[in-house]
C-alpha cells in the first residue's frame, strides 16, 4: 500500500473543502435548513403527525439522506472529473499507486465530506425540531454506508462524464427526483395503493426508510431489506469501478 499517496490525495481533497468552505459546507447546510424552516415549521404545523412523529421531525432523516447522496455524488464526481478535464490526471496515472488506492483516497475524501455535512445538518436540525435517535449505531451505519456508496457512484459518474452537462445530468435528473419521490416528505402508506407498489422500485425508498427507522423506530419497509439494498448498490458500484480500472475506460487509451 502506498499510504503516503493515499494520505496526500485525501488531505488535498479535504483542503479543497476548507478552501471552498462556503460553497462546499455552508451552502448545502443553509439550503437544507430552509426545508426544516419551511416544511417543518410553517407547513408542518398544519400537518398531523406522521406515524407518531411530528412532521418537522419526520422529514429530517430524508433530508439528511438527500444531502448525503447529492453531496457524495457531486464531490466525488467533480474530484475525479476535474483532473481529467484540466489534464493533471497524467500525474495520477503515472504515480506508483494502485486503482484501489486511488478509489480509497478520492471516495474516502468525498464520503468524509458528505458524512460530515450530514452530521452538521443533523445538528442544525436539532435547533429547529425535537429529534430523538432510537438507534444511534444504526443511524451512523446508514450514514456512512450511504456516503460511501454514493461517493463511489459519483466517482463513476466523474470518470464516465466527458463534459460538464453529463456531470450534472445524473444527480439532477435521477437522484434528486428519486429522493423527492422516495418518501422524504411522506410515509409510503399515505400514497394511493398503486403508487405504494410502484414506489418500491425506487431504491431511495429503502435508504430513507431505514435511516428514518434508526431515528424513530418506524419504517416503511423492513430495516433488513434496507441494509440489503444499500449493500447491493455498494457492491454494484464496486464492481463497476473494478471494471473501469481493469479496462482503463475513459482513463487510458
Amino acid at each position: 500500500m502506498n499510504f503516503h499517496a493515499i494520505a496526500t490525495i485525501y488531505k488535498t481533497e479535504m483542503a479543497r473543502t476548507w478552501r471552498t468552505l462556503f460553497q462546499s459546507v455552508v451552502s448545502p447546510v443553509i439550503s437544507t435548513s430552509l426545508y426544516f424552516v419551511v416544511f417543518g415549521s410553517a407547513i408542518g404545523s398544519r400537518i398531523d403527525e406522521v406515524g407518531g412523529v411530528s412532521y418537522g421531525a419526520f422529514i429530517v432523516p430524508g433530508l439528511i439522506m438527500l444531502t448525503l447522496m447529492t453531496q457524495g455524488i457531486s464531490n466525488a464526481s467533480f474530484a475525479i472529473y476535474f483532473p481529467k478535464f484540466i489534464g493533471t490526471i497524467y500525474e495520477l496515472l503515472s504515480a506508483p499507486i494502485s486503482y484501489v488506492e486511488i478509489v480509497i483516497s478520492y471516495v474516502g475524501a468525498a464520503a468524509t465530506k458528505s458524512a460530515m455535512l450530514g452530521l452538521i445538518i443533523l445538528a442544525t436540525a436539532s435547533l429547529f425540531v425535537d429529534l430523538e435517535i432510537a438507534h444511534p449505531f444504526m443511524m451512523l451505519l446508514f450514514l456512512v454506508l450511504t456516503s460511501v456508496t454514493f461517493s463511489l457512484f459519483g466517482f463513476i459518474i466523474g470518470i464516465w462524464a466527458d463534459n460538464f452537462e453529463k456531470l450534472q445530468l445524473v444527480p439532477l435528473l435521477i437522484v434528486t427526483p428519486l429522493t423527492f419521490l422516495g418518501g422524504t416528505f411522506y410515509a409510503i402508506d399515505m400514497l394511493p395503493p398503486l403508487w405504494q407498489k410502484i414506489t418500491l422500485f425506487n431504491p431511495v425508498v429503502y435508504l430513507v426508510s431505514g435511516f428514518r427507522w434508526s431515528f424513530y423506530g418506524v419504517a416503511d419497509v423492513s430495516v433488513g431489506l434496507s441494509l440489503v439494498m444499500i449493500t447491493v448498490f455498494l457492491a454494484a458500484c464496486m464492481a463497476l469501478v473494478a471494471w473501469i480500472f481493469r479496462t482503463g475506460y475513459r482513463l487510458k487509451s
Partner: protein, 311 residues
C-alpha cells in the same frame, strides 16, 4: 557493465481507432545518459513516453525501468520515473510549493519540505513558492511541472518537448537544469523537433518517424552524417573521365559529363575545398557554375528508412 536503465522490446501501440502509432520499438538506454528522441509531429514520441510512464496501455511488447517491468512491477518502475508532459497542465488554483509537495506524496515519498524547497530553488521558483499557479507565466509553469516531476527524486526523467514555446533564455536555463541533473546521476530522455537542441544536449539521438525508430546513434556520429554536403561543379565543357591530376579528390563525373560531383563533410576542418579548386584550375577544368546541397534531416530520414537504419 551495468544493465540499461531503460529497456524496450518490441513495443507496439495500436489505438482503438485502429491507428498504429508505434511499430515494434526496440531500445536500450544506459544509466546516466541524456537521450533525445527526435522526430516530426505525430511520429510517436509522446505515445512512447506515455506507455513507459503508464498513461497509455501498450498493445504489444514489454519494457523495464531500472529492471522493473512497467506493467507487472509498475510500482517499483514508476517510483523511478519522473514525467514532464508535453502539454502544460496544472491545477491553476494550487500554490507552487503545495503542488510540488503533492507530487512527492503521490509518489509515495515521506514529507520532506527541505527537499521540496531545494527543488524550487534549483528551478528558480523560490520567489514564487507561495504564488498560485494561475499567476505564473508559461515558462514558470513549465518549471513547476519539472519541479513536480523531480520532487520524488526519480532516477529517470522524461521531458516531452521541454523547450516548446520557451524563449531563448529559458531554453538555455532548461538545458543547464538538464545537465545538472545528469551530473547528479539522473538519466534523461527528452523529445524535440529541433536537431540543434538534440545536438546540444544529448549523448545519443534516436530518430523516430511514423512509429519506427529509424536510427539510434551517438550524437556526434549523427551530426557528422548530417554535415554531409554535395558540391556540384557545372563544367564549361563535358569531360569523358576524371583527369588524373584530380584523382586524389573524391570526385565523380556526372553521367552526361557536364558536371563533377564532390561529397564532403562540412564539419571536417580539412575538407580540402580550396585544394580542390586549385587543382581544378591547374588541370584546366573550367567551371560554369557551382552549387552545394546540404543533406537535410528529411533526407537522412529517407536514407535511413531505405537502408533499414544501417547506413
Amino acid at each position: 557493465m551495468s544493465s540499461p536503465i531503460i529497456s524496450i522490446q518490441g513495443l507496439t501501440k495500436t489505438f482503438a481507432s485502429g491507428f498504429t502509432a508505434l511499430k515494434g520499438i526496440d531500445l536500450e538506454i544506459p544509466r546516466g545518459e541524456i537521450f533525445a528522441l527526435l522526430g516530426p509531429n505525430g511520429a510517436g514520441k509522446t505515445t512512447l513516453i506515455s506507455i513507459l510512464c503508464g498513461l497509455v496501455n501498450p498493445s504489444d511488447g514489454r519494457a523495464t525501468a531500472d529492471g522493473h517491468d512497467i506493467i507487472s512491477d509498475y510500482r517499483a518502475a514508476r517510483e523511478k520515473i519522473g514525467l514532464v508532459p508535453q502539454e502544460l497542465t496544472t491545477d491553476q488554483f494550487e500554490k507552487v510549493r503545495a503542488t510540488v509537495a503533492f507530487s512527492r506524496g503521490l509518489f509515495g515519498k515521506p514529507k520532506d519540505p527541505e527537499r521540496v524547497d531545494r527543488v524550487l530553488r534549483e528551478l528558480s521558483l523560490w520567489d514564487k513558492r507561495d504564488a498560485m499557479l494561475m499567476t505564473l507565466s508559461g515558462g514558470m509553469k513549465r518549471r513547476v511541472m519539472i519541479a513536480k516531476a523531480l520532487a520524488h527524486e526519480p532516477s529517470i526523467l522524461f521531458l516531452d518537448e521541454p523547450t516548446a514555446g520557451v524563449d531563448v533564455e529559458l531554453r538555455r536555463s532548461m538545458w543547464q537544469v538538464v545537465r545538472a541533473l545528469r551530473e547528479s546521476g539522473v538519466t534523461i530522455i527528452l523529445t524535440t523537433h529541433y536537431l540543434e537542441e538534440a545536438e546540444q544536449m544529448a549523448d545519443r539521438i534516436g530518430v523516430i518517424n511514423a512509429g519506427e525508430l529509424v536510427v539510434v546513434e551517438e550524437t556526434h556520429e549523427l551530426m557528422r552524417r548530417l554535415g554531409e554536403k554535395r558540391l556540384t561543379l557545372q563544367l564549361d565543357r563535358p569531360l569523358e573521365r576524371l583527369p588524373a591530376a584530380l584523382a586524389d579528390h573524391d570526385l565523380t563525373v556526372s553521367d552526361d559529363g557536364w558536371a563533377l560531383i564532390h561529397t564532403y563533410n562540412s564539419r571536417d576542418r580539412a575538407a580540402g575545398i580550396s585544394a580542390l579548386f586549385r587543382d581544378l584550375d591547374a588541370a584546366g577544368v573550367g567551371l560554369r557554375d557551382v552549387d552545394t546541397q546540404k543533406s537535410s534531416l528529411e533526407e537522412i530520414f529517407v536514407d535511413l528508412v531505405n537502408t533499414g537504419g544501417r547506413a
